[in-house]
Amino acid sequence: MADEVTLTIDGMSVAVPRGSTVRAACEAALVSIPTLCWHSNLEPANACRACVVEVKGSRALVASCSRVAEEGMDVQTASDRVRNSRKVVAELLLSTSDADLAPDLLHLAEISGADKNRFAGGATWQQPVKDDNSLYIRDLSKCILCYRCVEACGEDAQNTFAISVAGRGFNAHIDAGFGRELPESDCVFCGNCVAVCPTGALIGKTEWTLRQNGQWDEDRISQTETICSYCGVGCELNLHVLENRIVKVNSPMDHPVTHGMLCVKGRYGYEFAQAGE
């Protein structure tokens, strides 16, 4: 069919709509590809390289999260080169960043057989927690520089462009402009960066405080869906409730109105309304 392309994934032939990524084609072929920076609602940043695959005819490995599938492509998802790269990516990230709240990274480490100590012992991202506002915490020791927050704050959702990457090489980091604290920056506290952060480097202050005190217990948190009443857009909210208290608000990533993105009122207004009670 003209609007489909057929390619081979680990020897299996699969047809996908033209324009699909190699990652999506792998998914269609039921081959699971690990990803860290890729997010269904954001432009691929191509930063983590966890998703690389081997494409016949291409010298370097190819990031499957962004590469568009082509007719006749021959893709290997588990070659020696792919496996070595995935493993080293996991090991490098584990050697710099605290992965306690990063399930995707822990998963990558597990499936790739990574040894978290192999490249440890050198420079790390260890740094003090940034607690400069009442809504969310920046614990950048956990950051893996996946660019998701930058994308969410910029063109892909929020259009605020409050944060970007500054510095080069190992010193590259997320910055709110000239090293400013968030309240002095252009940030409007929509929390969309928090919603997409895969590592807990950005985390709601309530959740962070509860975790600090050992009171965050996923098993005891119930979730309730509702529609935000602050305005008429109709954003769906997912209220996380612990002991009759709203401790976190997000929106389903596949919701047609929000695509997981909210404004400051929807995301943080409810917690605050009750805090004042």
Binding site: N84, V89, G121
Partner: protein, 404 residues
């Protein structure tokens, strides 16, 4: 062998580098007139027939790249001359632009006509201020001839952002657009999706100069020099333990050893006068042992037998007092400083290589270093991360070569 001079003006050249007389003396006025009488398709066919390959490092066939931009969809097109020259041991574009700036610029104009671009940029390394002034003066001459300007091809000089990575073609495009000099993911390639999304042709200074001398003569003349696979000459930046370091123009196919030893070229080894290794291609290059140098010609096929390539033409010579591990550490420091930090293998990997080498890991952690190096080569976004471990791998593959 006396030095070949095609890209570099002959020693008896009398005219000033930036003058109308120089245009005539070098045949560049003839080149412009001949080119202006030709259809873009014919210009491209001639570049293809000449066999010119890119001189910036990757040696991609120039005519094929031009055909790609020519065939790309879209009305607006750009040509960019890459004069960012920041590879270690590489200073040939600077010498070329000092000695004959009109040549490279005539190449730019020929390229612009071939791909129907009305606008071209010269992206020049920030430190090259005097060269930049010379380029600007050369543009004035070309404007007086009616070949540069709003009614012909507009040529703008842009000063580089001061980082090695800005010379990578897609980072360079971002830099011209006013963004952070971070590489873009390829595909799409600049030939289809370059500056502001328009088809863009990017060539190294030396490549452009080759095009100018080609059109000042013809394909047959061009191919009189070099090998059938790689016609023409290459500028070599010779440095390290040689008697006469400098930039030399050498025909492809010339014996590597002779580049070091010929009286008119390197003039022989200095220091202990015993060769330990050469590093070919700069920081992104490969170490070659004396017997490999002895057995190689300056051509891609010959060098690839030893996993080496010419790259930008940087040739560093080390005598046997030099500890190559020390050189590797310097290279590792360079890449750790120059990584843009966008992707994990290079951002963290360059730092870990530096740390491991500082802990003498070449002997104790060879396997870990190798796997790290392979992941960087395989999974990094751009050429910087992909080539950062190449010199290291060339030593890991030849453990007996580490030296003192």
């Amino acid at each position: 062998m006396p030095e070949t001079r095609r890209l570099l003006p002959a020693l008896h050249t009398r005219s000033e580098p930036v003058s109308r007389e120089r245009l005539t003396e070098r045949g560049f006025d003839r080149a412009m007139e001949r080119m202006l009488s030709m259809q873009p398709e014919d210009i491209i066919a001639e570049v293809k027939a000449s066999g010119i390959k890119g001189r910036g490092g990757a040696a991609f066939p120039t005519g094929i790249k031009w055909a790609g931009v020519h065939a790309a969809a879209g009305g607006t097109r750009y040509v960019v001359m890459n004069a960012d020259e920041s590879e270690l041991g590489t200073f040939k574009d600077r010498v070329l632009l000092e000695q004959d700036p009109l040549g490279a610029l005539v190449g730019v104009l020929i390229a612009a006509h071939a791909v129907r671009a009305r606008k071209a940029y010269c992206y020049i390394r920030g430190e090259y201020r005097e060269v930049e002034q010379r380029l600007a003066a050369a543009l004035t001459i070309l404007a007086e001839c009616g070949w540069v300007g709003p009614d012909a091809v507009d040529v703008e000089i842009r000063r580089g952002a001061g980082a090695y990575i800005a010379g990578e073609e897609t980072a360079l495009l971002n830099s011209i657009e006013g963004k952070r000099a971070e590489p873009r993911v390829k595909p799409p390639f600049p030939t289809n999706h370059g500056l502001w999304g328009a088809p863009t042709l990017i060539q190294n200074v030396e490549t452009m100069a080759n095009v100018a001398v080609l059109f000042a003569h013809d394909v047959q003349w061009f191919k009189e020099c070099g090998t059938p696979e790689t016609p023409g000459t290459k500028l070599i930046g010779l440095s390290g333990y040689v008697r006469h370091p400098g930039v030399y123009e050498v025909p492809f196919g010339y014996p590597m050893t002779n580049i070091i030893h010929d009286e008119d070229l390197g003039g022989g080894l200095s220091g202990s006068e015993r060769l330990r290794a050469i590093l070919l291609g700069g920081a992104a290059g490969t170490f070659m042992a004396p017997e490999e140098v002895e057995a190689s010609l300056l051509d891609y096929g010959s060098l690839s037998r030893y996993g080496a390539s010419i790259g930008s033409g940087a040739l560093m010579v080390f005598d046997d007092t030099v500890d190559l591990t020390w050189v590797l550490k310097k290279l590792a420091r360079f890449f750790a400083d120059e990584s843009c930090g966008q992707c994990v293998p290079c951002r963290i990997g360059t730092r870990r290589i530096l740390e491991l080498l500082d802990q003498e890991g070449l002997k104790t952690r060879a396997e870990d270093l190798r796997e790290l190096a392979l992941a960087m080569r395989d999974a990094s976004i751009c050429g910087l991360g992909q080539t950062a471990p190449v010199a290291l791998l060339s030593i890991l593959d030849r453990p007996e070569r580490q030296g003192a």
